[in-house]
Amino acid sequence: MNPTAITVATTFAPFLAFAVALLFFMKRPVLAKAIVLLGGLVSVVGSLMLLAGGPREPVRFLWFASGDVALRFGFLYDGLSLSFGAVVAVITFCIQVYSIGYMAHDPAKTRFFAMLGLFGWAMLGFVYSVDLLQAFIFWELVGLASFFLIGFWYEKPSAAAAAKKAFIMTRVGDVGLFIGILIILNSVGIFDIPALLDPETGLRAALSPGMLTIVMLLIFVGIMGKSAQFPLHTWLPDAMEGPTPVSALLHSATMVAAGVYLFARLNPLFMASETTLLTVLYISTFTAILSSTVAMVERDIKKVLAYSSISQLGFMLMALAAGGFFAGVFHLITHALFKALLFLCAGSYIHHLETNDMEEIGRRGGRKMRWTTVGLVIGGGALAGIPPLAGFFSKEEIFAALSHRGILIFQAGAFAAAFLTAYYTFRMIFLILLPARTEEPAHAHGHGNDSPLPMLAPIMLLTLAAAGVGFGGGWLARLLDVEREHHAITSMLPAIGIVLAGVALAWWDFGRRAATRTGFITAVKPLHTLFTNKWYVDAFYANVVARLTDMLAGLLQTVENKGFDDSFDGAARGVVETGSFTAKLQSGWVQSYAAVAIAMMSILGIYLGLR
């Protein structure tokens, strides 16, 4: 079959499902569900067929041309888009299946499924984009879809606020990205990604190194917003207000992954700008550590996973910025799988036991939900980097990339973040698996010991993926066409050691029978306060940024009221007063008018006569 036709079907089937569901099946949730699932299935089949076909030449269609600037839409088929597109389609479909169970009792099912379709379309369209502007359009659509889904329960004020926050904060980044794109338009006039990447004729040849750095930094600002890097990361934990399947979707293969994907897409350009790379390294390392420390002290299982997403995104960007293209992409894919799994497990607990609190989940017998718990342990192990689960292999690649780069501070940061990751992941697992005391689940939801099959099937599938996908590294490297060096077992030992140390500490704090279950960090009061308050970033925004904005708004309001309004009012009053003053000249006495007319004509006559 024609690959173009397959790609069109893959990307647009979810959109079609979205449109049909929303237009025709608003009152028929079963049909809406069926059509969205069908769309998701078409995407899965299509993306897998494309993947099986392997890399090939991109296709482009002219959208419109204006002068020298031609805007083309099209599809890019390289290892990156093919592999990640398949991951996106599979995870989106898994989450759609999972939502059948999770959203079974929600009255607005149709809207939910339709929005999942929209999300799938936006993300797949973004992944396969051949044109930077096309990518930007889909990038914004991803943001729009996540706005709808985070604010799905819009009647809850906190959910509405979280949706707004996500939209506005990512928009801050998008402004940077858009300015970067405009500079590219202005300087080279093309948006075609392969052409921009070309070392001879692309962006590197057209721009001076300084200008290139500016452009890449601007694009990175967009990535910071989308991929939740410090200081634009605070929207992501708040996005937990959405239904759990949404969190799973948002934090694994879509939305936050879009930023990292864009970085990987433009990797050769980033590589050309040393300043940008260093900036990215500093920001991502700091983000990874900051968010890991916050995850250490959170009690809400979804918040822990949200902060771990931020830190794993930091890892990916560290790898990419250190020159480890393969490591970053590999971690992007493995993380998408195991993070989706973890969120689905969390959703299963929340759905079944009706609490977000990890200790409460443990107390209400979370470990009795057998499949969910297996998924949580495998996913958690993968996140922590326990060999031989998926996360171990990709993190190993990241450490290797960082050691190639050879800047000690980043290596140390990565190890610290990996240690903390292992610690907070196993804190979560121990809190749920080994609760201090248990009670009978008095108000367990539904029947049986575990969630219904539509929720368990995706969990099982993703459990297998999280356990096994790490061995696909060699295959992925061939697909991406990069050299992957062989790592000796000895070089892996420090990474394994640091992870095991984290697990051991978590066991000491939360696992063993005599454990205090508070965590070692409570011993250091100031740090504990700092971490529980999320490093005061939100407080900073609320108290400083918001207040400065208010002050600026007040100032501008004064300028408007006192400056513009008053001057316009004054001008109008002046006209009125001049009018009423000159109106006094009108006596209404017809003879005075005649006298004036005659006098004027006489003067005119004399003037003309004398001339």
């Binding site: 006094k584 000249l585 009108q586 006596s587 209404g588 006495w589 003879q591 006298a595 005659i598």
Partner: protein, 101 residues
């Protein structure tokens, strides 16, 4: 009789008419003043025709036109005055000052 004598007579007539128009309060009197000014104009035309113009007919035609014009003007003026009288119960200019600013 010279041209100057006719022109002086016309000037006198015009001045009288103008003075009437500007000074009288009764609108009928104003109408009379206007008629006087028109007569002065006719007189001027005739005088110039008699002493200056080679073609004798032109000035007389204009004078006839002015007479016709004056007749039409009088009829319109008087009909307006009828309406004004009905509305204001008077025809002096003091009474009709609704356009006073």
């Amino acid at each position: 009789m010279t041209l100057t004598a006719f022109l002086l007579a016309g000037l006198l007539l015009f001045t009288l008419g103008l003075t009437t128009v500007l000074s009288r309060r009764n609108q009928i009197a104003i109408l009379v003043g206007i008629e006087l000014m028109m007569s002065a104009a006719s007189l001027n035309f005739l005088a110039f025709n008699r002493f200056v113009a080679p073609d004798p007919a032109v000035g007389q035609i204009v004078a006839l036109v002015i007479i016709g014009l004056a007749a039409a003007e009088v009829s319109i003026f008087l009909s307006i005055l009828m309406v004004v009288y009905r509305a204001h119960h008077g025809i002096t200019v003091e009474e009709i000052r609704e356009l006073k600013g």
